[in-house]
């Protein structure tokens, strides 16, 4: 495990360059690879770039696409911006919160789902929009949301 992580850190740092100015990109990339950045990974980045851990943590926790806390198996990112909102985004928010039994910013207790807001992903014409992991879903309705969730649950083997 640790070896794999170190390898990932080495590789990512090599890609962006081991200067402190690449910190934001390195952290974002690593966070996307691993789902989130655990403390050993953050410490490894700090060491590799020779920057203080406090700076690594400050930067990591500032940006919304970098996570320093564990996320669920699937991360739902619901667009929280105006066009989606006007198009009925609030209902989708509520449907998601209801369906998963958690609030935005939380992860289900079984570790399957994390619900997060995201800023505009520029697909306003098909709002409301959400992303599950890397997949984008547009023109959402509460019904459609429940269907999509059901499909993921089915894929995951009927669990959760």
């Amino acid at each position: 495990m640790e070896e794999r992580m170190m390898h990932q850190v080495d590789e990512t740092v090599a890609r962006y360059g081991s200067t402190d100015e690449a910190l934001v990109e390195i952290l974002r990339d690593l966070s996307q690879q691993a789902g989130y950045l655990d403390r050993p990974t953050l410490a490894a980045v700090a060491k590799k770039l020779a920057v203080p851990e406090s700076r690594v943590f400050s930067v990591a926790s500032f940006y919304s696409m970098i996570s320093v806390e564990p996320l669920g198996k699937h991360v739902i990112r619901m667009c929280q911006d105006a066009p989606c909102h006007v198009a009925g985004g609030r209902k989708i928010w509520e449907t998601l919160e209801q369906a998963l039994g958690i609030q935005f910013g939380q992860t289900t207790s079984d570790g399957q789902w994390t619900l997060m807001p995201t800023s505009c992903i520029g697909l306003c014409a098909v709002g409301p929009v959400m992303m599950i992991d890397d997949e984008v879903f547009g023109n959402l309705t509460p019904e459609k949301v429940n269907e999509i969730l059901a499909r993921y649950r089915e894929q995951d083997g009927g669990a959760a």
Partner: protein, 121 residues
């Protein structure tokens, strides 16, 4: 790039190529592959276009891509240009519509009116 002259030569060459549908080809299919297009399924559409061309062994067509045409709601969007005729733009072209589109417009020469959208000049 050493000089404006060199750039002009490239321009002439590129223009020549663009005037036709494609280099040595009779027609051109363009799939809009902006984020909006891809979110709406443009990758599948593109795949379907390539499949269909291979399946039917159509030789004189160029398949290319372009960015967002500004009508994100109508993605995936596809344009077809045959010879020196005006380009025709289609909206909401999912993979399932490609065989029909290629059959009727590209091969049959008849644009599919009900899928057509008009874009700004």
């Amino acid at each position: 790039m050493k000089s404006l002259e060199e750039l002009r030569k490239i321009k002439e060459r590129a223009l020549e190529r663009r005037k036709l549908a494609g280099e040595g080809a009779k027609s051109r299919i363009t799939v809009a592959m902006g984020t909006c297009g891809i979110a709406a399924g443009a990758r599948d559409t593109m795949k379907a276009v390539l499949n269909e061309i291979e399946k039917r062994q159509i030789a004189d067509v160029v398949v290319t891509q372009t960015g967002c045409m500004g009508l994100c709601e109508y993605e995936p969007m596809v344009t077809i240009k045959i010879g020196e005729a005006d380009e025709v733009t289609y909206g909401k072209i999912d993979a399932a519509r490609i065989p029909t589109l290629i059959e009727k417009h590209l091969l049959g020469g008849e644009p599919v009116a009900e899928w057509q959208v008009q874009t700004a000049k």
